[in-house]
């Protein structure tokens, strides 16, 4: 166990932002949280990281836990002159050699000398993720990482994320709406709407009545088709 939320609730005014959430993240987990706007997804991440203390319940952290976080909507202020290299190194105990090595590993070495304000959305996300990997975290928390990317950017980002998950022994907890794109890699989906509506394997989730009532029949069917599609592709590969 890396981190565990035990029956946590967050109340603002008279509204329950989060209600009785139980969640456990283990080594080698890949969990995706989905849910409508205002479902408390970001709040849940922030509680787990300790930005806010839940009003009820508690967060249990393993002593080995090393969290790294990539925020939602990351658009750096244009007036700050800072290269990708300096940004990766900022406030981190990491040598030049390590940064070079990890940049080559994730194929961003060409970006290191560029100003982060000049990077495209996709490049910026990669730099952000590489920065969060430099001190070898065992849990990577991502809040809607592909919000500012176009479809091809999203595809390449999720491929990038998959490589990270496969090559580095770490767990990933991600808020994302792109369920169709993470279907193949994510192990568990949690559907959040203040409380946990349903959770489980991606395919099972799309058939859950709670999921269908939250996102609608059409969306659920589209998801299943996607999953089906991906399976076929996969078979094709294995025959070849």
């Amino acid at each position: 166990m890396l981190i565990k939320a035990e029956n946590i609730s967050v109340i603002r005014g008279k509204k329950d932002i989060l209600k009785n959430i139980n969640l456990e993240i283990d080594n080698d987990d890949f969990i995706t949280i989905i849910g409508p706007n205002g479902a408390g997804k970001s709040m849940l991440l922030k509680c787990l990281m300790g930005f806010f203390k839940p009003d009820k319940g508690k967060i249990v952290r393993s002593p080995e836990l090393k969290v790294s976080y990539a925020p939602q909507d990351f658009v750096p202020e244009k007036s700050i002159p800072i290269s990708a290299y300096d940004f990766i190194k900022l406030n981190k105990k990491v040598s030049e050699l390590e940064i070079k090595k990890i940049s080559i590993e994730f194929n961003i070495e060409a970006l290191l000398n560029k100003q982060i304000s000049h990077l495209s959305g996709g490049e910026l996300q990669k730099v952000l993720i590489v920065r969060s990997l430099v001190e070898n975290p065992n849990l990577l928390i991502l809040d809607e990482p592909t919000q500012n990317l176009d479809v091809s950017g999203q595809l390449s980002f999720y491929k990038f994320l998959n490589d990270i998950f496969n090559e580095r022994k770490l767990s990933i907890l991600m808020v994302s709406h792109d369920l169709h794109m993470v279907m193949s890699s994510t192990k568990k989906v949690i559907c959040l709407s203040s409380h946990i509506c349903c959770s489980g394997e991606p395919l099972a989730i799309t058939q859950d009545p709670e999921f269908i009532s939250l996102f609608g029949q059409d969306f659920a069917e589209m998801m299943s088709v996607y999953k089906h599609d991906l399976d076929h592709k996969h078979e094709g590969h294995s025959h070849a």
């Binding site: 922030k46 990281m49 930005f51 969290v67 790294s68 976080y69 990539a70 925020p71 990351f74 750096p76 202020e77 007036s79 700050i80 002159p81 800072i82 290269s83 300096d86 940004f87 900022l90 406030n91 100003q115 928390i141």
Partner: protein, 263 residues
């Protein structure tokens, strides 16, 4: 041979430029220009307080600016008005209350010197104080630099890396207040913001890292202090505004260089 009052002025000005350079970068990055402006407006009330209580006006300014900043942060968190509106209300009300209080005190006060600064009247003792303040502010800014830069880029990333953002932000605001309290004498209330914004904005054009921008900004500040002092003596013009004119000239000269750098 330079007169001692010129040397004092030069030395005090260099101190202000050094602090203003680093702090000004954050004011530009955090889009706090109006905040800095409001803080300097409130300093007039501090001067009134200093005169009324018979204490050092720098200390009076520091106290009032601190209360002003704390009050402002409190109201910002309440989110009743937008930041912009709040600053507008507080800046001009404190400036007006300051001027009214000074006139009620019935003492001969040269308002002009506080509005536009009077660097040529800086005493050797004050220079010593400026020097100590500069050392303290520079040391504190050095200690929080990386954390504050990261916070400015993204507050949530900073929090996730266990930076106590409230502490760092409070230290930064305190340094800004110290700057305003010391700077009032040099360039005057109306021109403090330019001392924060213009050197930083100029440095931005030629810098590729946060630290480089901080250092260049201080150097640009120092150059304009030297040129401004020299010209004000030469042409017999008010010193504070002359320094700002020099800042603007440097900004205009350096501006085209940024175009070259981006291509």
């Amino acid at each position: 041979m330079l007169e001692s009052y010129i040397l004092n002025a030069l030395f005090a000005g260099i101190c202000v430029a050094m602090i203003g350079g680093g702090l000004g970068c954050f004011v530009v990055w955090k889009k706090m220009a109006y905040f800095g402006d409001s803080l300097s407006h409130s300093s007039l009330l501090g001067i009134a307080l200093g005169i009324a209580l018979g204490i050092n006006t720098t200390i009076g300014t520091f106290l009032v600016c601190s209360v002003f900043a704390a009050f402002l942060v409190y109201l910002q968190n309440k989110k009743i008005f937008s930041n912009d509106t709040l600053l507008g209300i507080l800046a001009h009300s404190s400036l007006s209350i300051g001027i009214v209080s000074i006139s009620l005190l019935n003492k001969r006060v040269n308002l002009d010197s506080y509005l536009f600064g009077d660097i040529l009247t800086v005493t050797t003792e004050e220079v010593a104080w400026f020097f100590i303040a500069t050392l303290l502010v520079m040391a504190a800014l050095y200690l929080i630099w990386n954390k504050l830069v990261l916070m400015t880029i993204d507050e949530n990333i900073a929090k996730s890396e266990r930076i106590n953002t409230n502490v760092v932000q409070t230290v930064f605001l305190t340094l800004l207040i110290i700057f305003v309290a010391t700077c009032v004498k040099i360039v005057g209330i109306l021109l403090i913001t330019s001392m924060l914004i213009i050197p930083a904005a100029t440095a931005k054009q030629i810098s590729s890292s946060p630290l480089q921008m901080g250092v260049s900004s201080s150097i640009i500040g120092i150059i304009s202090i030297i040129l401004g002092l020299y010209s004000s003596v030469l042409f017999d013009t008010p010193t504070g505004p002359t320094i700002i004119v020099m800042l603007v000239i440097l900004f205009i000269i350096i501006f085209p260089l940024s175009k070259l750098k981006n291509t």
